[in-house]
Assembly symmetry: C2
Homo-oligomer: 353 residues x 2
């Protein structure tokens, strides 16, 4: 059986035992708290883990781009939520083809997006559309409940569309805020006599929030691997982190400076908590951080001069943000302990279209 | 002839007329100032442009990883400089195979790295090794001229190695500093009776520095495309920027907020001048910046409420750092004006090994 020592670097290692524990713990929480779990697969981009999430009880999956949805559908996943405004004739044609073969739902937050859906889909095979709501995160989404209602009416008026409910990407630590927004919306929709089949929110930083509010479905993604951002948010511990970048020390210019063969093209530049001074990764089993990155080098500063690590030694780096790291590598290596179990292509890597 | 309007988004557009002008201007400077130009191809990762750089007079190319060197050699490039400490038996075997078929040079900054080279290469097909010097950038490299001399002696003592000269990644705006470092080194090497065949430095931020110092070769990379970082450093103007990310407006949640379909998985998070408040890309033809990124969305804030741009409109974004953006896409589209000329695979994308 090959081991980590047999691998070339830099490469992504996925600890499958940690993954399994992370997936089960989240599904158990969903089951106990009474919400449907629809994991966001933008984190791992692997049909293999998407299938495992569904086996464990997930209702389906979430993807962030149409290209990802196509890859997951090709791999046999048949219930996909794409919380995105799909815009443009080329994409609408692809969306229509996808809707023919799986249970698909998408979002819209403008009359223009809905108009595109309405002219593409037909009664025979309608598209399910949820309204995206900006409940405080300041990205996409309607600003008011009245706007949501108006868009729902536009959807209901189109023969090829079905109103699927309300969706938000909630503000971080803002479940109370998004719940309040949704409660007001649900009151308005009830008054208007429009049923809201599904209210979907949720993300890894707030995944342990109890259930019971208006939200019927949550879409965490990062929880499969966790990362420094999640550890910082106290969602998980360092020992839950399942994805590491295996790197080799290639230079020891000084007693305190350690240079590894993983830079921004392997670890990505995304800061923790918006603070670049917190560095770009944690050296597993230590408190050392990757202080700075160039494209192909990472620099670690030791607190005091040390002979360790030497040139040729290997370190495992817990990234700041695993979702973007998955997107940098063509394949990942599955490990259990030090044993290499398998290598998988990152099937939907680069499918930003 | 297809045009930009026929492309799906997000995608990378390369303006080949700007590329040609950028390449020629840099080669002219090298010719006039009397240094050899060895462009760093980590920026574009395209054999097509590497060959054009050589046609225009470049001495050969630079790559940052062994995997990139292999791709470029496969494409027929026969003079490659790999300024990296190559460490580990697997990589050394690959390096040996590569050295059999092209004119290759590498670097080392430690006895350990040189020992690896020495036990791998033989008299029959020796490896050319330059010493990497830390002239102030604080990354890899020996700290003193005496260390450089000691490593050169270690190289000369190995039958399978040839001392190829001195290399630095200079501190930004630090040519004077690296020149001074090298002048001291050259004096020491002269005293020791060791010829220094080549002194290589240079990078895009300081590419217009006059020649005439100890440096015989420069390795700029970004100058083929330029980007916001280079514009900030006044190396080029916005109108020289040849790489843009074509994006579609997918949401207009408010009169001032514009959301595009390019996020950190298309534009990368790298800040300009280490300052995240400067945003993550410039909207071409405007002074608007991409204020914030999530993985699949970019948010632009308009200074005043505006109907433009509408959902479905397209914007071209000049990235902060083009080298990492090239590494996010599987292919690039070559354009002239609005006409699409060709689509090329980013051949050495993801070859971080």
């Amino acid at each position: 059986m090959p081991t980590i020592a047999d691998l070339d670097t830099p490469t992504i290692l996925i600890d499958i035992d940690r993954v399994e524990a992370n997936l089960k713990r989240a599904q158990d929480h969903a089951d106990k708290e009474g919400y449907a779990l629809r994991p966001h697969t933008k984190t791992h981009k692997l049909p293999y883990f998407a299938k495992r999430q569904i086996e464990l009880g997930a209702k389906g999956i979430t993807v962030q781009k149409l290209g990802e949805a196509e890859v997951m559908a090709d791999a046999g996943i048949d219930d996909i939520f794409l919380p995105y405004n799909i815009v443009g004739d080329k994409k609408l044609a692809r969306l229509k083809a996808l809707n023919e073969r799986i249970t698909l739902s998408v979002t819209a937050d403008s009359p223009d997006t809905i108009a595109g859906y309405a002219r593409t889909f037909t009664e025979g095979k309608p598209l399910t559309v949820l309204i995206e709501c900006d409940t405080g995160a300041g990205r996409c989404g309607v600003q008011t409940q009245a706007q949501a209602l108006a868009l729902a009416r536009q959807i209901e008026a189109a023969s090829g569309l079905r109103f699927g409910g309300l969706m938000t990407y909630p503000p971080k630590h803002g479940f109370a805020q998004s719940d309040a927004w949704f409660n007001d919306a649900l009151a308005l929709f009830k008054e208007a006599g429009i049923a809201v089949p599904r209210v979907t929110a949720g993300n890894s930083p707030d995944m342990w929030t109890p259930g019971g509010g208006p939200v019927t479905e949550r879409r965490p993604g990062t929880y499969i691997y966790y990362d420094r951002m999640q550890v910082r948010d106290q969602v998980a511990s360092v020992d839950d982190c399942a994805l590491t970048v295996l790197a080799t020390v290639v230079s020891r210019p000084t007693g305190t400076r350690v240079v590894i063969d993983a830079g921004s093209k392997s670890l990505a530049y995304d800061p923790v908590a918006g603070d670049l001074s917190l560095g770009h990764g944690l050296v597993m089993g230590t408190e050392l951080v990757v202080k700075s990155l160039s494209e192909e080098h990472g620099v670690i500063e030791m607190p005091v001069a040390s002979d360790w690590p030497r040139v040729g030694d290997r370190l495992r780096i817990i990234p700041n943000h695993v979702c973007v790291v998955s997107n940098l590598f063509d394949s990942v290596t599955l490990i259990s302990g030090d044993e290499v179990k398998d290598t998988l292509p990152v099937a939907s890597r680069g499918r930003t279209d």
